[in-house]
């Protein structure tokens, strides 16, 4: 039954993603007006507080707020340090962390609404035959060049600018600058038919500029996703934030060395983040900070058991030749599908 519904890991993941997309975007329709606030505690990321239909809680918002109002302004007032600053901040980090202990970075590959939207756009791109662009030398350039951007965004927009705003050094319009450019905020609110977030604030220069950057970024990645897999994930501060905890979660990607890897590299072609390390390295190094635990590498590795998705000691999924053969028949590692052929069916 389950096998018939979900013949592949990819199909199962798509089902989970669509359910989570509905929940993170339209959650309150399911759980009611106020109850939406409560599931929010259980879904601490990219459940955007600007979306009035969802469950409203994204770790990046309280983090910016805490740097702004509590840490920044708290340092200014220098009082009640533990109660006002450390505890709320730890609560944010801990509730976030509790979530990530259970699912680890699978948040990115299985839950994140923006990740799902980008993948859906990519499917359209493959279907319409837009050539795939990859971050590899000779195409868009080495992937290593974009990797530091996510750390810069995390540091500057989630930690530093809100802190400076709280300290009174920077304008209060910089209180939550990441949200102001977050494309997920635009995607989820637009999906509820609300254009308020796309509209730019005209009475505040900084808000206008940040909003303009956000809107342009959103437009850019919507089109870029037709050709580049997960364009935003590569620079997403949440991916960086998650990777801080990725070794602590029992859910992880395990790769054992194999002599075939030297000439193969199929897994890194299948990887939506163009992670070359999954083919070139093994062990800790192969589970890269950019990994979203989507499991595509394990699906496309033709060697039995070389790549595994594990939760604690349990292997949830392991690569295998038979599975690989079935999988490539339907879809190539890069996501392209065999063109539909209109030929007479052969009868046996």
């Amino acid at each position: 039954m389950l096998k018939a519904l979900f013949p592949t890991l990819a199909r199962f993941r798509l089902a989970v993603q669509l359910i989570m997309l509905a929940l993170t975007v339209y959650g309150s329709v399911v759980v009611g007006h106020y109850a939406a606030e409560k599931i929010s505690g259980a879904l601490p990321a990219l459940s955007c507080a600007y979306d009035m239909q969802n469950s409203a809680y994204c770790v990046l918002i309280p983090t910016q707020h805490q740097f702004h109002h509590r840490i920044g302004e708290g340092i200014v007032r220098a009082q009640q340090v533990t109660f006002q600053i450390v505890i709320p901040f730890l609560m944010t980090v801990l509730s976030f962390f509790a979530f990530f202990v259970v699912i680890g970075k699978a948040f990115c590959g299985w839950v994140c609404p923006l990740g799902t939207i980008q993948e859906l756009v990519a499917r359209i791109g493959r279907r319409f035959g837009f050539g795939l662009r990859r971050f590899v030398p000779g195409d868009l350039g080495a992937v290593g060049r974009v990797r530091p951007v996510k750390w810069l965004l995390l540091l500057a927009l989630v930690f530093l600018l809100p802190l400076l705003a709280g300290l009174g050094v920077a304008s209060h319009s910089l209180g939550n600058p990441y949200c102001d450019i977050c494309p997920s905020r635009l995607a989820t609110t637009l999906l509820t038919g609300n254009t308020e977030q796309l509209a730019l604030r005209t009475n505040d220069g900084i808000a206008f500029a940040l909003g303009a950057i956000g809107d342009a970024l959103f437009g850019f990645l919507l089109v870029a996703a037709l050709a580049v897999r997960q364009p935003f994930c590569r620079i997403c501060p949440l991916l960086a934030w998650n990777s801080l905890f990725q070794r602590l979660s029992p859910l992880r990607l395990v790769k054992t060395p194999h002599e075939a890897c030297a000439k193969c590299g199929v897994c890194s072609q299948a990887c939506p983040l163009d992670i070359a390390e999954i083919a070139q390295a093994h062990g800790r190094k192969a589970f890269h900070e950019d990994c979203t635990l989507c499991g595509r590498c394990a699906e496309y590795c033709p060697q039995d058991g070389v790549i595994q998705l594990k939760w604690g000691p349990w292997a949830l999924f392991a690569s295998g030749r038979e599975y690989y053969k079935r999988r490539v028949k339907a879809e190539l590692p890069d996501g392209s599908v065999k063109p539909v052929r209109f030929a007479a069916r052969e009868h046996a």
């Binding site: 009611g32 007006h33 106020y34 109850a35 939406a36 606030e37 409560k38 507080a49 600007y50 009035m52 409203a56 109660f83 006002q84 505890i87 709320p88 609560m91 035959g129 837009f130 050539g131 795939l132 662009r133 990859r134 590899v136 030398p137 000779g138 195409d139 209060h172 209180g175 939550n176 254009t195 308020e196 796309l198 509209a199 730019l200 604030r201 005209t202 009475n203 206008f208 909003g211 303009a212 950057i213 809107d215 342009a216 970024l217 959103f218 437009g219 850019f220 990645l221 919507l222 089109v223 870029a224 037709l226 050709a227 580049v228 199929v266 072609q269 190539l332 590692p333 890069d334 392209s336």
Partner: protein
Amino acid sequence: MKTALLTLAALAAFEAAAQAPAAPPAAAGRYAKSQDWTAYPLLLPALGGGRGERLAVRLGPRNLHAAALDVFAADGSPEQRHRQVPVGEDGNAAVAPVAPAKGNYTWVVAREEDATHVTVASTVAYFSNPGKAPTALLREPRHELEIVPERLPREHANYRESEKWGFLVRFNGAPLANQVLKLDTDNGSRGRFLTDAEGRAVVLFPRDFRPAAESRGHGHDHGPPRARFVLAAELDAADKHYLTAFNYSYAPDADRDRSLAWGAFFGVLGMAGALPLLRRRKPFKDGGQIDA
């Protein structure tokens, strides 16, 4: 201009006071600080306080005398759920969530009573910690004459001008039909609504924010500026005059000071920027390497 507006507002308030003979004289006592925009009883945050605090807000009765506030939490043990907090020297009382980790909506009431008058001011304090939904909190009767919102705006949301929201009016726990509900706003508007057979009135928030909506910037410093409103009902029953008010804040309409055209322009600009990526390149060889 501003003086003229203030005078107008004061006049309007005076008129409202004249129509509401039972409203206690403003600014008469130690705990009663007058508000220029309304004569109805209010519970207002002390300066610097705001919504969405985690630890405590300082709220004070205005336009009525009360030595203590009654605080009802949506969550917590029975002893925790209802507390009385004394109003201090500065005219404010510290309202806190029942436990550091329990927050959400808290109902706050001030009551003044003598042989012939019962005056009640009520509002809601919101603490951004998680807690129980306020559905039951709003249903429980606590005073003779009550005005309760059908729904409260969620965190990061507001009542907004031009929006309609339902409010229930009860007397001794039962819905009060055909009751007049008066609205005064900080921006100087006055409104009048009538409850239906279920004791429900639909309140339309007036579109009354001034264009450069700096107004008085309550609450925290991002999000829209908010203005205060009060809804009041009066009733004579059993030789007593009941005056009950509920006050909270509302925000400007979302489309004020926002331009969708500019937003769409930058969105399209971004899309155009990504077009070069769509120039076709040779596809992958089957299962193989990319053509460089």
